[in-house]
């Protein structure tokens, strides 16, 4: 596990082999979708698809921070739910409320991430359990806050980010705001992970905590930051999903495992040390493409589950095989 992330010089063929398989998978899936449904080539088709995938892609990019740092964050789905329920409670149909609600929700997200990080770092509770507890607690808080059913609507200004399409754009005609959010937050998350000292330190503590500590990395602070990034991207994902779908009490449930699945499809190594934001986001897009493809094939829900399970195991098994063969 002492691998370096330096790119080794090599032939073009070798470089080709080093392409993350998730991109190949994604392209293959998209080609399959187009073959089955040529209407997907129309802007309405692929824009809808990207709009749909935006929330999960941002969430996966954020969740990757915790995964690379060597932990899990199971509380992100509940954080999304809390964002949607809390915003609808606070908005009380006032369109201007959006401008303070979103920053407030980001603040709550940061606080939740901080608590997760503190519990893991100082109470030494394994992150799986700490964030499982947080997941149950946050779901409960959303229920207590709303009394079990949504109590308000999200104003159109709030739903703008997840629902609105800019029309009359040359070439594509429609352009969903959600895709702009996807690109902007994708770039921020990529920059934070791959272009800053923070990103390097996250990789370091995920790779070998003791070594990182000896090298002077402030392990606790870095880990807490990773949890904060994860929770805050859950808030962003919640805003987009709530915008797209409207209010419901279980809107975020299941997203925590999908985010981990997406990161794993993108080649992230569970328990830390390795992972790429663009690949995790491509993993999310691939996951959404799988669902779209299975829909198109008209396969019933149970078959979708089986396929998802096989792909999950297959992707990781393949990654382990490659890693072994290339001698890491």
């Amino acid at each position: 596990m002492t691998e370096q992330t330096l790119s080794t010089p090599g032939s073009a063929r070798r470089r080709l082999l080093q392409i993350n398989p998730v991109y190949v998978l994604l392209v293959a899936l998209l080609v399959a979708i187009v073959l089955l449904n040529p209407a997907f080539m129309e802007p309405q088709g692929y824009m809808n698809y990207l709009k749909r995938a935006a929330a999960l892609a941002i969430l996966s990019g954020g969740a990757l921070y915790v995964i690379v740092a060597g932990g899990f964050d199971l509380s992100v789905g509940a954080m999304m739910t809390l964002t949607v329920i809390g915003s609808s409670m606070l908005a009380s149909n006032d369109p201007n409320s959006t401008y303070w609600i979103i920053p407030l929700m980001l603040g709550i997200g940061a606080l939740v991430g901080l608590i997760n990080g503190l519990v893991v770092s100082y109470l030494r509770v394994p992150s799986l359990i700490a964030t499982l507890g947080m997941m149950i607690t946050l779901t409960g808080v959303a229920f207590v806050w709303s009394g079990g059913a949504p109590r308000g609507y999200l104003p159109d200004t709030f739903r703008f980010f997840g629902r609105f399409n800019i029309t009359g754009v040359p070439l594509v005609n429609i352009f969903p705001v959600a895709i702009i959010c996807l690109v902007v937050f994708g770039l921020i998350l990529w920059w934070g992970m791959h272009r800053t000292n923070l990103g390097r330190m996250i990789h370091a503590i995920g790779d070998n905590q003791r070594a990182a500590r000896l090298a002077g990395v402030p392990v606790e602070r870095v880990r807490i930051t990773a949890f904060i990034v994860s929770s805050m991207s859950a808030v962003v994902a919640g805003v987009i999903l709530g915008g797209r779908a409207g209010v419901s009490v279980d809107i975020g449930s299941g997203y925590e495992l999908q985010a981990i699945t997406a990161a794993v499809l993108g080649g992230a190594q569970l328990l830390g040390g390795r992972g790429s934001v663009p690949a995790a986001m491509a993993g999310a897009l691939a996951l959404e493409a799988i669902f779209t493809l299975l829909n198109l094939l008209g396969l019933p829900q149970p078959v979708r589950q089986v396929v998802q399970g096989l792909i999950l195991i297959g992707a990781v098994a393949l990654a382990m095989y490659r890693r072994k063969r290339t001698g890491r």
Binding site: Q44, G148, D250, I251, N295
Partner: protein
């Protein structure tokens, strides 16, 4: 991986063996006809208080349960895990306040698990403080032994919503039923489309009795009327998924009607048409405020069959009457199940209520209305 595939195939063969013969019957023509008749039939009792009305004349004698107050009424609840149940449970707690003879109202919540609900009923019986037990079963067959055990302990038991397969309870309170819901929505779709029209059926999940019968009722009618069923899709009650499904179908062709077995995601389906810039066709829903308001605002051809939440009030009333020794409709107390149509739409819309408030709550006249249900005056 090969092993895995083979093992899965092996398991599949194992299951396939006795698969078909076991399926419970959700397509019962006799029950369909009975419910169809009840929808338009006469109900006894005051017309302005549908939660007190009942079909038929059979009454259950409760003299042996007569008891002096104050009573402890215990309620084993399957869960408050969806907005329908939240509204219903609020109806119930407000109804409890109408009866000073009820000293204590004990509520235990099984969080949607059969296993837990059986244990909860055991707990209540072991505590030995209940004067009467109300059960809203999480599933029919699984809760039957627990209900039988409660009956055997001498307690008067009232069951409502989903039933049990024993007639030992004093009465089983429920509205007309799932076929009735399917019929109301199905008739509306047929009346507003022509033969050959494309209908998309959206369902929450398979396997729930009251939902399966809604679908089977409507499906038969569509086939008979010569409509083309585009597909039956399960939404898991998830707005985002509902929207995706409708978007995908829209991309592949036209949709003339969307039939839904429950209304919580109806607005998401309507929004999919709005966002695609396509006129909203016939979309059936349920009595949720958000759907009723969307229906009014956009003026599409809607209908809201109901599964009235006022049955939660009736359960308390049945328990109270039983403990007073008064006869109650039994062994079944069948409540009316009206549908909200265009001509009465306005009287059910109340913009001060939460989006997923169920308008057919029979609660407008209760002292706690509307605050207890999350609304504002």
């Amino acid at each position: 991986m090969k092993k895995l595939v083979m093992a899965v195939a092996g398991m599949a063969v194992l299951f396939a063996g006795a698969a078909q013969a076991q399926a419970p019957n959700f397509d019962d023509p006799a029950e369909f006809a009975k419910q169809k008749a009840q929808l338009t039939g006469a109900f006894n009792g005051p017309a302005d208080s549908p939660w007190l009305q009942y079909a038929g004349d059979a009454m259950a004698d409760t003299a042996k349960f007569k008891k002096d107050g104050p009573w402890t009424i215990c309620f084993s609840n399957a869960g408050v895990n969806n907005p329908w149940r939240v509204v219903g449970y609020t109806d119930m707690t407000e109804e409890v306040k109408n009866h000073p003879e009820i000293g204590t109202f004990t509520h235990v919540d099984a969080e949607g698990s059969d296993d837990k609900q059986i244990a909860d009923i055991d707990d209540l019986l072991a505590g030995g403080t209940c004067s009467a037990l109300i059960v809203s079963p999480n599933s029919t067959a699984a809760l039957t032994p627990a209900v039988e055990k409660a009956c055997a302990s001498g307690l008067p038991v009232i069951v409502f919503d989903r039933g049990v397969t024993t007639d030992c309870p004093v009465t089983f309170v429920h509205p007309v039923g799932g076929y009735g819901f399917g019929i109301q929505a199905g008739e509306h779709v047929i009346a507003n489309t022509s033969a050959g029209a494309n209908v998309l059926m959206l369902r929450i999940l398979p396997g729930v009795d009251v939902l399966e019968t809604r679908a089977s009722g409507a499906r038969n009618m569509f086939k008979e009327a010569g409509l083309n069923i585009l597909g039956e899709e399960f939404t898991d009650g998830d707005n985002a998924k509902t929207k995706s499904i409708v978007e995908d179908y829209l991309q592949r062709g036209t949709i003339d009607a969307v039939w839904m077995d429950a209304g919580a995601t109806a607005v998401a389906a309507v929004e999919a048409f709005e966002d695609a810039g396509v006129p909203v066709p016939v979309v059936t829903g349920e009595d949720q405020q958000d759907y009723l308001q969307k229906w009014k605002a956009l003026g599409f051809k809607g209908i809201a069959p109901t599964y009235p939440t006022y049955q939660w009030r009736t359960a308390i009333i049945a328990a109270v009457n039983t403990l007073k020794g008064e006869a109650v409709p039994g062994p079944e107390w069948v409540l009316p199940q009206p549908a909200i149509t265009q001509d009465v739409l306005d009287q059910y819309i109340n913009e001060k209520m939460p989006p997923l408030h169920y308008a057919m709550c029979g609660c407008e006249g209760m002292p706690g209305y509307p605050e207890a249900w999350g609304g504002t005056k």
